[in-house]
Symmetry: C2
Amino acid sequence: MANPKTAPQRSDWQRNHERLLAAAAALVARDGAQVSLEEIARDAGVGSATLHRHFPSRQALLEEVFRDTVERLRRRARELAAGDPRTGLVSWLEELTIAAADTRGLPASLSAGAKAPADDTCHAVVREATVMLVDRASEAAAIRPEVSPDDLLTLVEAVTQATEGDPPTALRLLSLALDGIRP
Amino acid sequence: MANPKTAPQRSDWQRNHERLLAAAAALVARDGAQVSLEEIARDAGVGSATLHRHFPSRQALLEEVFRDTVERLRRRARELAAGDPRTGLVSWLEELTIAAADTRGLPASLSAGAKAPADDTCHAVVREATVMLVDRASEAAAIRPEVSPDDLLTLVEAVTQATEGDPPTALRLLSLALDGIRP
DNA sequence: CAACATATGGGGTGCCCCTCCGTTTTGTCG
DNA sequence: CGACAAAACGGAGGGGCACCCCATATGTTG
């Protein structure tokens, strides 16, 4: 899972890994991305050294916590790629915004992933989906050709981080940005 | 200054206040809004208790650090209110974005001020200017009437916080948001 | 210049991240 | 099955931070 090598992990390693992820998911949902790592270890019933051995950084832990949520988003993007290019893109951005605004810690994790380039981060997965849908819309001339997927994604990440826990506001800001200010 | 009562402060109080602000300005510019308060106290040559006595919270310190910058912005908004409503608003948002993206810690401070309503925060000053320019543009039908000054400001704060230290990207995201994505 | 309000800062508390290293658990192989 | 090595664990400790207490020092004022 975390280990890229196919080395089979010991059973206690797997057990603790799951306990840590469960505790982390609960506490991140309650306290956000800056939750105390020691509290996660305590809740999981393991020493803090074990947590740090399993997850070399806070970001690495968050990446695994949000893996499933991001995977669902990725599948949703694939569905949307079958329909109308414009509404597909808009729906994607809306659903991404709702998911991020609803999920404490996810905006912070996505933004953090944007700064450390790697292929398997949550940010990279979401980015790939965004690139695909923007390209489709662009080719269909449904959006201005100079609109960049990365800019659009940064905008969504910025908005959701600024409005964490308030999906209506996040959506309102998104549609303002998509429509512009002109009459 | 910080004290709402008109009690005249002792001379050493004023001296230490200035030293703290100078040290804070330098370190915030270097490290951003989450700089260590103890380091600021050390640099200023005072005990950490003194820093906490002068500034009851990190936010209170940041508010004073950025007071001058925000005051300059406020005056600039007044100038812009004399010209064309549409370009005035756009210039205001652009200049605000540039200032915030250039000034480490300012985006975080503005966003934090948005959550704790008070009349004398940096956020409140910037907000007042934004309300005025948006109203002018709205009355002149230069923008859609449902565009809210608060949403626009939140958008700028979100963008500058997400792109701290990178004014070109911040400006690109701003103009994307102002123009929308449609052809 | 004395007395008093005001301000200071060293040191303490509690929390946090992270790592070291002696101990325990696990899987395997004779 | 029992012993052994590799793998994993966790308590403890170093270093850092925010914030507070209280004995001390310092302006100010009459």
